[in-house]
Amino acid sequence: MAMKKSFKGLFYTPYILWLAMFVIAPVALIIYYSFFDIHHQFTLSNYRVFFESGTYLTMTANSVLYAFLITVISILISYPMALVISKLKHRDLWILLVILPTWINLLLKAYAFIGLLSRDGLVNNLFEFFGIPAQQMLFTDTSFILVAAYIQIPFMILPIYNSMTDISDSYIRASSDLGATKWQTLTKIIIPMTMPGIKSGIQIVFIPSLSLFMLSRLIGGNKIITLGTAVEEHFLTTMNWGMGSTIGVVLIISMVVVMLFTNTKRKGRRS
């Protein structure tokens, strides 16, 4: 656009100011703080503690494992969902039904599960109906993973669905004309062509799953310590910002790694 220089500057200034103040400065500050201990002394001890004490490494391994399981479960449930919805007549309407739960506050959904999974909640009642004895479900790893997957599923369905609607029908027809079975069409055509969707789904689901501290508090009952829970604890409870920042830096690095592995042109959490 050939506008006057001064006029252009008008658009750049607020946005660049935002980039500097709320994107670059906070990331720089968190890296800076990670080199200070609780007495504001410059030190590398936070990193030493992180890599030498078994607790932090186990915690990192655990939260990667949890995030991995959450991501795998949501792909397994979402992929067939996206596949079927993309073939339905009123698919726009059905996909709207997928989006709608994402407009409900996350905390309310988590709260619903406190009721559903409690000792005399609906799930245990159903279990008893089928002759399975009631069990403690709240505050277990399984329930944490399942509830997290529940919350992430719409965010996994949407990118996969988008990449499915991008596939032209003629590919599918060509493949069946050439004698491919349904299974071959799925594994040789549809899945490879929806890889970008799966990748952006992984990006959207895996990274937040590393830091779902409200879920690990409400559903995991303080037993599950993920990287996110540890950051929250160091910042808001023990006030050891240095250690919190160090864990934050580890989180940022894992985020960058995930981004590098799943990088596609698509961006945005919910697009």
Partner: protein
């Protein structure tokens, strides 16, 4: 694979949809229960809604949340739209790519990182935690999504529209207000709504930067849920569900309206691309 969904497929999606909606309806159904837990439905009552409306503290928090959502969306829409125009105007490709990568940092960062780093930032600036820190944080994390909603519309716009206007002697301000803004308006509105939902949905960032005096609904629900079940929260869930339905409705009305008027605009466009 034939192009219709099989019976099994339809059965599967109905099953998953039931699972997806069950927790939400479970919450709402129990908001009408006479009991005090989400275990046995003890008969119909509206008393939890009555309690909720009589709860002055809750009402104040509700209004604060709406205020934060509207104000932050307004400012982030303005700055995000300006950012989109700035990104669109970049001459070099790598410059644009760099700006877009920086833009997406806040979109992909885990919430705790955004919250923790903003907390450090506000403390370093000696800004007291409360309404202003929450408002600034919300503006900050909503800007990138607005930019992503507006930028595609700008990229769709044919340069000949601007060239024609300039040839006809329009000033930069006129080009902006008469051509660019009307053309990208659907993107701006979509961005504004996305910003509102991001704001209403946020818990983690607010939780970090809110301090002691100020709360939003998400933070309040969290602290009450940690104390256990209170059917007043269920009533709140019912109201927020209706509220989201209304928001979704408005959003899709505007979207559809824009789609039809957007197509008209596209047809007017000079056919050179």
């Amino acid at each position: 694979m034939d192009n219709r969904a099989s019976k099994l497929g339809k059965f599967y999606i109905i099953f998953v949809f039931l699972l997806m909606y069950m927790p939400i309806f479970y919450l709402i159904i129990y908001s009408f229960s006479k009991g005090t837990t989400m275990a046995n439905f003890d008969g119909f009552t509206l008393s939890h809604y009555g309690e909720l409306f009589a709860d002055k503290r809750m009402l104040a928090i509700f209004l604060d949340t709406i205020l934060i959502a509207l104000l932050s969306s307004l400012f982030s829409t303005i700055i995000g739209t300006m950012g989109a125009i700035a990104v669109h105007n970049t001459k070099r490709r790598h410059q644009r790519e760099t700006l877009l990568s920086l833009n997406s940092i806040l979109l992909v960062s885990p919430d705790v990182i955004i919250g923790a780093s903003f907390l450090i930032f506000f403390t370093a600036l000696k800004l007291p935690l409360g309404f202003w820190s929450v408002l600034l944080s919300h503006i900050a994390f909503e800007i990138p999504i607005v930019l992503l909603m507006v930028l595609p519309r700008l990229d769709e716009m044919s340069p000949s529209l601007i060239n024609a206007a300039m040839d006809l002697g329009a000033t930069s301000a006129q080009i902006l207000s008469k051509i660019v803004l009307p053309f990208i308006q659907p993107g701006i509105i979509a961005g504004f709504f996305m910003a509102i939902t991001y704001s209403l949905d946020d818990f983690a960032v607010t939780f970090f930067v809110t301090g002691n005096g100020f709360t939003t609904l998400s933070v309040e629900i969290y602290s009450r849920a940690r104390q256990g079940i209170s059917l007043e929260i269920n009533a709140l869930a019912g109201i927020m569900f209706v509220f989201s339905l209304v928001l979704v409705g408005i959003y899709y009305l505007i979207e559809n309206h824009n789609l039809s008027s957007g197509r008209k605009l596209d047809r007017v466009e000079v056919p050179d691309r």
